[in-house]
């Protein structure tokens, strides 16, 4: 097997609220190979979002080690290494769909013709070619999530972290978004870590994991 693009070793995280200490993660080991798709399920409150936040480097673990493509985690690397999709879509309301996709490219540098063409292509791939100039407020939930998927793929990341991307969508729309996400990741050989409650969505990934009692199984 090739070098894992993400490797986490004995990650732990606990929250202190008041005088109580909640051990959310205690020793999570996870390796994700290039292009691999992994699903993570678990009860509500089991720490799935917490884990994704650690993997994305947005939050720092209390203990353990994390490496992105063999290197240590650094903010400057995030925009190129990672794409993220959330339950809420988090589109920027002031700019249209295409500009939202391009926003990811702007984080790395001023977008040129190549980036613009790629953003257009991605918008078309998620089936929104006709809606590229629409503002987020003019799009439906499913359409917004598809814009968010296109945005996550914009910088050709090595890995996409998706935290319940269908949580706010109805079943049919959710299925379509998952199909799209899996299909695009497969086509572009992008690894995917998908957090979901939906067993049938999870079944479509290559590896299925459960988060219970603070560790993955």
């Amino acid at each position: 097997m090739s070098e894992p693009i993400l490797s986490a070793r004995r990650l732990s995280k606990s929250y202190v609220s008041g005088d109580r200490r909640i051990e959310v993660l205690c020793g999570v080991d996870l390796e994700i190979a290039a292009g691999e798709s992994v699903s993570i399920r678990g009860e509500s409150g089991s720490g799935k979002s917490t884990l994704l936040n650690l993997l994305s480097g947005l939050d720092s673990p209390d203990g353990g080690e994390l490496a992105w493509a063999g290197a240590s985690v650094h903010v400057d690397a995030r925009a190129k290494f990672l794409g993220m999709v959330f339950q809420s879509f988090y589109l920027i309301p002031e700019i249209d769909a295409l500009a939202n996709v391009l926003m990811a490219a702007r984080m790395i540098g001023a977008p040129g013709a190549v980036e613009r063409a790629r953003a257009k292509e991605l918008i078309a791939r998620v089936g929104l070619a006709e809606r590229a100039t629409h503002l987020p407020a003019q799009l439906s939930g499913g359409e917004r999530q598809r814009v968010a998927v296109a945005r996550a793929l914009m910088n050709s990341p090595k890995l996409i972290l998706a935290d319940e991307p269908t949580g706010n969508l109805d079943e049919r729309t959710g299925d379509a978004v998952i199909e799209l996400l899996l299909g695009l990741c497969r086509d572009t050989a992008t690894a995917l870590a998908l957090v979901t409650h939906n067993a049938s969505h999870a079944a479509k990934t290559r590896r299925q994991l459960m988060l219970t009692a603070g560790s993955l199984a």
Binding site: N53, S56, L58, D59, V75, D76, R78, A79, K80, L82, M84, F86, S88, Y90, I92, P93, E94, I95, D96, A99, M103, A104, R106, M107, I108, A110, L135
Partner: protein
Amino acid sequence: MPWYLYLALKQLFPTGRRFPFFTAISILGVSLGVAVLIISSSVMGGFGHKIREMTVDTQGDVQVRGDGLIADPAAVQAQLMKIPGVLATTPFAEGAVMVIFNLKPQFPGMQGIDVNHITNVIPLQQYVHGGALAALDDDSIILGSQLAISLGARVGDTVEVYTPLAFEKLKMSKGDEVLLPRQLRVVGYFEFGHQALDGSVALVPLRAMQNLYGLGRAVHGINLKIAPGLDADAMADRINAALPASLHLRARSWIEINQDFLFVLQFERNMMFFLLMFIVVVAAFSVTSSLLISVVRKTREIGLLGALGAKPRQVAACFCFQGFFIGVCGTMVGLGLGFGVLHFRDDIVHVFTKLTQSEAALLRFYQFSHLPAYTDPAYLVATIIGSIGISTLAGLLPAWRAAKLKPVEALRSE
């Protein structure tokens, strides 16, 4: 363009929105402050200029006085003329008198002037109305306009003048002599537009004044005109260095003579500027509060930016730049507005006085039919730097709030 500038502009001018309300109102707030600053400092500057001009017009650039009288003015004048930079000189004598017309007394200061040469130093003829400076002879007088009104004397009337010397003679003669006043015909008024001068000064020829006060050929001082462009203070120093100490003469520039008044003028202007700057500060507070609201409203988006790879200081720059941009736009609009108003100031005053029917009052009290304006470059620069600086500062607090947000918490927030 870095993403944070792009996003800042997009937040100020969202795509597809014709009229960005928040931005327009913020810009308007700053621009009103800037406009008021420019208008008021320019009009005050205009008045200041007028007052300085008038001061030089009444006193000359430099004045030479002695400990007491200057006994031989012609010799001193000849010496002064030898100093490079001195263009013209004119002697004067002065003193308080009592002027009576129709049993109404007034106690103006009387100035004896060298009618033939004074206009080389002081453009007095410009201020004389209802007669001519050239008409002034030993039996005539020119009154300040307000003084003439107080006396009720018109051109052609004859006023009576008593001097201290006349009373002295009366006292010495122990009542043997009859006190006869000097009869002088009014041949004109002068009007500088300055209450203190127009209300309490009268002009007579130097010879007449010397006679009235028993000065002989002596004078009280000499006014000088210096070459244009020369610094009056430096010139006064040069003259003091050139005059022999034995003469006990001292030259002072008009700036030095009027330093208290000029200081008050400048102080007033600075104070006004400082206070009006608070309009910009208040506008900046509203910018701060709307940007703060925007930070709170956009908490989740700020979290998303973090997820996309944004650094806290870039997020801060995004909000700080919005304050800066509002400052720049507000300042430009404000300058346009301010200079626009200044350009049409006479029409505006005209319309205003028409509406309030106060045109006559304005003319009577201020003696101007058009508002002076002079924009001091220093104030202009201070206004621009001040308003842009304050607006940028206004963005700092929201920027700090935004930068402090942790992406994880921001994304979790409901």
